[in-house]
């Protein structure tokens, strides 16, 4: 599908969608939304690129190797954050009790482990949605 209007529109819109997705991921601990919603928005922008241009352009934007590293890395980051809490003397996934810096409530860098975990889950969700889409489209390849 090669449509001039969708191409130009999506070229205009995609950066804003991506920034919005990142914003929602980063403010997950402050406002409604969070890793899944933000990651889904970010992933949707990648799907939009693939739909309005063609598959190769989309694949170039997030190559398969990088996607699988991001996917695994997001999940591993989550698990490691939990393990760090044990190493610091708390329980698995402990936050304040394990001594993660809490920061000032309401500021961007606050809420300790939750901020880190949200970031990792956001990465994981965004890359998973993109790869799922590509796998369904490409199928056998």
């Amino acid at each position: 599908m090669e449509d001039q209007i969708t191409r130009i529109t999506s070229r205009l819109v995609v950066p804003f969608i991506q920034v919005y997705g990142i914003y929602i991921i980063l403010h997950g601990h402050l406002s409604p939304g969070g890793s899944f919603s933000g990651g889904a928005i970010f992933g949707a922008s990648l799907v939009l690129v693939a739909l309005s241009f063609n598959l190769e352009a989309g694949s170039k934007q997030i190559p398969h190797n990088a996607a699988s590293v991001l996917e695994s890395g997001g999940a591993l980051g989550y698990l490691i954050t939990g393990l760090v809490a044990i190493a610091l003397g708390g329980y698995y996934l402990s936050n304040k009790a394990a001594g993660f810096p809490m920061g000032e409530a309401g500021s961007l860098f606050s809420a300790g482990a939750i901020f880190i975990i949200t970031l990792f889950v956001g990465i994981k969700v965004a890359s998973t949605i993109a790869t799922l889409f590509y796998y369904i489209i490409e199928g056998e390849k």
Partner: protein, 492 residues
């Protein structure tokens, strides 16, 4: 307790960790991928054993995720029964994995084997979580993870039957989890808790005011877990799914996955719903009669099958019924029998599916009537099949006898001899469809005509290990039975 206090969480974490690292390893350091999974399973097994020893010394132990105490946080519980299930789960899955190392290359494309390791670890990890968790919503999430990964290890072999079977399985298990979540909502509505222990207490009080909610929840739970554990007549997905899957997946699904849901239903009946609820409606009775029907009909269906793996799959329906019978009879000896059967059947059915896998690997035969005379060309395999079928029938000297013995004993003790008859009849039916295969394999004068590929050593070794364990379960049942008796005593 030192570092070991974190073990309940770490058992699950280590398996998920390997799950996510193995696609990376498979891409860049292919030789390390399989050893990583084996190492994770060994580590998990070691942790479970340490926990079991500690729990027997110091009593039941609770682990609070993130340090949040219940009812707010997620709680993991380590008691002897759950740890016993975990020992069975992890050791059997380790054994199947070692078998799978050779068989997978034959049944799958090389490209997807790394993903198979991921799915396998996720499956084992989620099942470990189901056994350990003490929180209904956590159970829901783990059940969905388990359902997806269980479907995926079927559909990873991309032929038509596998895809269709796993779609059927996925739809029915999605129905199961939908029902389960609705039941959870019903319970949350009237109590405000999701933690088993809190629910158990709150439901006693809530039962006076909102009995309908609680009955609905109980009914939904029976449908949910019945579907997932293939309780007759909700078993329709099982034969296709278990028969078409690659052999290691069949061994895993038939050996472990359906049992973990039976165990979850047990937890609902004994740790979530208080006695008043179970006495007000005959929930156990329903499960008991469905199980009795399943034990008969599963075997009858198995008799008319022509495909070896399909026959084994139908036999699983009959065998899971014994476990449900153990739950439904409501007696401590029945629990011992049912839980002993979880272990025995996990090993036996996994071994029988391995045998089927070996037969397919080396001769390509799936039909039962083409197996005549195969005992002379694949002796170890067919001896394993013989011992496995003996254990299914319950011949003395095999593990199958012990569990049936305890079930029958408890049925007599509570004065319901009809279930002894059911067990006997079902064993007889088992003999009717297992024994002809054995007899034809060894004593038929016809030669086996097909070409035979040599069986790899590691596959033979896995089958030998299975045989040895089945016989050990038959002769040295004492330690396990003592453990189970102690554990069952907590509920009566």
């Amino acid at each position: 307790m030192g570092f070991s206090e974190h073990f309940p969480a770490l058992i699950v974490v280590v398996l998920f960790f390997t799950a996510f690292i193995s696609p990376l390893l498979y891409r860049w350091a292919r030789k390390l991928a399989a050893p990583a999974v084996i190492a994770a399973l060994l580590a998990a097994l070691a942790m479970v054993v340490v926990l079991l020893i500690q729990v027997q010394q110091f009593g039941i132990y609770y682990y609070h995720m993130g340090g949040w105490p219940p009812p707010w946080g997620i709680e993991f519980k380590a008691d002897p029964l759950r740890l016993y299930i975990l020992v069975v789960l992890i050791s059997v899955s380790l054994w199947i994995f070692i078998y799978a190392l050779r068989d997978l290359g034959h049944e799958l494309k090389t490209r997807v084997i790394g993903w198979y390791y991921t799915l396998y670890s996720v499956l084992v990890g989620s099942m470990a979580g189901i056994a350990l968790t003490n929180d209904l919503f956590n159970l829901f999430v783990l059940m969905e993870i388990c359902a997806i990964s269980a479907c995926a290890i079927i559909s990873i072999k991309e032929d038509r039957e596998c895809l269709e079977a796993s779609f059927k399985y996925l739809i029915l298990s999605a129905m199961g989890t939908g029902c389960f979540l609705l039941g959870v909502v019903m319970l949350y509505m009237v109590t405000g808790y999701l933690n088993y222990s809190f629910l158990y207490q709150a439901l006693v009080e809530a039962f006076d005011f909102y009995p309908l909610n609680i009955f609905t929840a109980a009914a939904l739970f029976i449908v949910a877990f019945g579907t997932k554990a293939a309780l007759f007549p909700l078993h329709v997905w099982l034969p296709d799914a278990h028969a078409s899957a690659p052999s290691p997946s069949s061994a895993m699904l038939s050996g472990l996955v359906i049992k973990i849901y039976a165990f979850a239903l047990f937890l609902m009946f004994y740790e979530v719903f208080p006695r008043v609820v179970l006495e007000a409606v005959p929930l156990s009775e329903i499960v008991l009669w469905l199980a009795a029907l399943g034990a008969m009909f599963g075997s009858i269906y198995a008799m008319i099958q022509t495909d070896l793996k399909k026959m084994l799959a139908y036999s699983s329906i009959a065998q899971i019924a014994y476990i449900f019978m153990g739950i439904g009879l409501h007696h401590s000896l029945a629990l011992v029998g049912g839980f002993y059967h979880i272990m025995v059947h996990a090993v036996t059915k996994a071994m029988l599916f391995m045998v089927a896998g070996v037969i397919i690997y080396s001769t390509g035969v799936r039909r039962i009537d083409q197996l005549t005379g195969i005992g002379k060309v694949l002796p170890v395999t067919m001896v394993a099949f013989t011992i496995g079928s003996a254990s299914m029938v319950g011949i003395p000297g095999t593990g199958g006898l012990i569990s049936k013995w305890y079930l029958a004993l408890s049925a007599l003790e509570i004065g319901r001899p009809i279930f002894v008859l059911v067990i006997l009849a079902s064993s007889l039916l088992n003999a009717i469809y297992y024994m002809p295969i054995v007899i034809n394999a060894f004593m038929h004068q016809d030669e086996f005509k097909k070409e035979v590929k040599p069986v790899p050593g590691i596959m033979q070794l896995s089958m030998v290990v299975g045989m040895v364990f089945i016989i050990i379960f038959g002769f040295f049942s004492k330690p396990v039975v003592t453990l189970l008796e102690q554990a069952a005593a907590l509920f009566f």
